[in-house]
């Protein structure tokens, strides 16, 4: 029960594991680029061997970045029941929609074909791969590096009047405020509980009741957030912050050979992954 109130403990956002590996030292711009290429390739790839290859690449990344594999596995554990339920549904009901392939079994609306089996296995593998990849990225890159890298990567968009700097600032503010609001929320939950409200004690099938329990938390949370926003707006304007004004940067990134190599490797891996015909 007490664990219900320990919100700040569960926030793993910006969790960073400094093992000082090659992956950690990569230029964040190139790391993000390589990550994006691999994610897109995984989302498109729907062959068995291609996905096996992608899985091998993910495991190799854990090895190279010196991150213990259980960090990745802990991300998969809570999802296993969902994966199984979804897999069974896809297996039973998807046969006739996924046309093509040989039909092995058919009874009423239930039909199992080679295509639906492929769909089930590939989507489960895809899920594991994406979890592994995103854990490597977030565990090896600090949030500051991530936002800086993103800002630089989007830099060219400034030519078409896209407010890149403002956008990076929004992301930074959002990440900065998550722990603050978590604390506020904890305070509000404790305040409500000390007045006799109960959270999470209702049975799961009493959906309406459990939803109603949330209102005394959610609505004040928005109000606290908005009044904090007012404070921040006032503070920024008092210091003459001008959105869109040109400003210099504190951190400068310089690409090295290894960064280009990483980007090249991700392209090669994607091409191989999509090129495998089975």
């Amino acid at each position: 029960m007490s664990a219900e109130f320990e919100l700040t403990r569960n926030i793993t956002i910006g969790q960073y594991l400094p093992t000082a590996s090659v992956v950690h030292r990569l230029d964040p711009r190139f790391k993000l680029g390589a990550f994006a290429i691999l994610i897109v390739a995984i989302a498109i790839c729907n062959t068995y061997v291609g996905n096996l290859f992608a899985l091998a690449v993910c495991l190799w990344l854990f090895q190279v970045s010196k991150i213990p594999l259980h960090y990745g596995i802990s991300g998969i554990k809570p999802a296993i029941p969902f994966i199984i339920i979804l897999a069974i549904m896809q297996l039973l009901f998807y046969g006739e929609i996924a046309n093509g392939g040989t039909v092995y079994f058919q009874y009423g609306i239930i039909s199992i074909s080679s295509e639906s089996i492929r769909l089930v296995i590939v989507s489960a593998m895809r899920f594991v791969e994406v979890i592994f990849l995103s854990s490597v990225l977030t565990l090896s890159t600090s949030t500051t590096e991530l936002t800086h890298g993103m800002e630089r990567l989007l830099g060219p968009l400034e030519k078409v009047k896209f407010p890149v700097h403002a956008f990076a600032l929004i992301i930074t503010i959002a990440i900065r405020f998550v722990p603050t609001f978590a604390m506020e929320m904890e305070k509000m939950m404790k305040a409500q509980a000390s007045r006799g409200a109960d959270f999470g004690t209702g049975e799961w099938w009493r959906i309406v009741q459990r939803t109603k329990d949330m209102f005394p938390i959610i609505i004040p949370l928005f109000n606290v957030a908005l009044s904090r926003a007012e404070d921040l707006i006032l503070a920024m304007e008092a210091r003459c912050y001008m959105p869109g004004a040109s400003r210099t940067r504190y951190t400068q990134y310089k690409a090295k050979g290894i960064d280009y190599a990483a980007l090249g490797a991700s392209v090669v891996i994607s091409v191989v992954m999509l090129g495998i015909p089975w």
């Binding site: 926030i11 969902f82 979804l86 992301i171 209102f215 109000n223 869109g244």
Partner: protein, 185 residues
């Protein structure tokens, strides 16, 4: 982004984005509904509120933050697909804003409530539509989920949006809005 981003827009987008992330990581943003898609969500509400308060640009950015955070936190394979997790969420704030602007002159409360409803509906319809197209669930299942998850989502969205925005608008006029530079005088 008609006039570019003001300080106000930047900060409101950041702060509401933070709430979207927070609701996701603490699991408080989920209504436990026992269906195929797992849980109903209330995490689209920050995008709706941002859209109503600061326009479609802010709504779209909050939608993007919500989408990316749900993509990174997802425990269901369905939302580990960027096409399903991120793309549909961009439009939540936009439709909410359009609804609000369209009905604003009829009745403020009606407009806010309707924007909450339409915003939630945008999320449900687009996410499930893409789920069907991308082959994660057959049409029949998606339709059931739309009713069992989408309906509670829409109702909760209307209530929270109305409560927050109505309260905030009243406070704003009575001097709660501290900064007068970026607001309209």
């Amino acid at each position: 982004m008609e006039k570019g981003l003001t300080v106000r827009k930047i900060v409101i987008a950041g702060v509401l984005g933070a709430i979207a992330i927070l609701l996701g990581v603490t699991r408080l943003g989920y209504i436990p509904v026992p269906t195929a898609a797992g849980n109903a969500t209330i995490m689209h509400i920050p995008a709706v509120i941002g859209g109503i308060m600061e326009g479609w640009g802010v709504g779209m950015i909050i939608g993007l933050i919500f989408g990316v955070s749900s993509f990174l936190n997802a425990t269901v394979p369905l939302f580990k697909d960027p096409l399903v997790a991120i793309l549909p969420r961009l439009f939540i704030g936009v439709t909410a804003y359009l609804t609000y602007v369209g009905l604003k002159n009829v009745n403020q409360y009606l407009a806010i409530g309707a924007a909450g409803f339409i915003g939630a509906l945008t999320n449900t319809v687009l996410v499930l539509g893409l789920a069907v197209i991308r082959g994660y669930m057959p049409f029949g299942v998606a339709a059931t989920v739309a009713v069992t998850n989408g309906l509670p989502e829409a109702v909760v969205s209307v209530i929270v949006t109305l409560a927050v925005v109505a309260a905030w608008k009243k406070l704003g006029s009575s001097g709660r809005q501290k900064s007068k530079i970026s607001g309209d005088f």
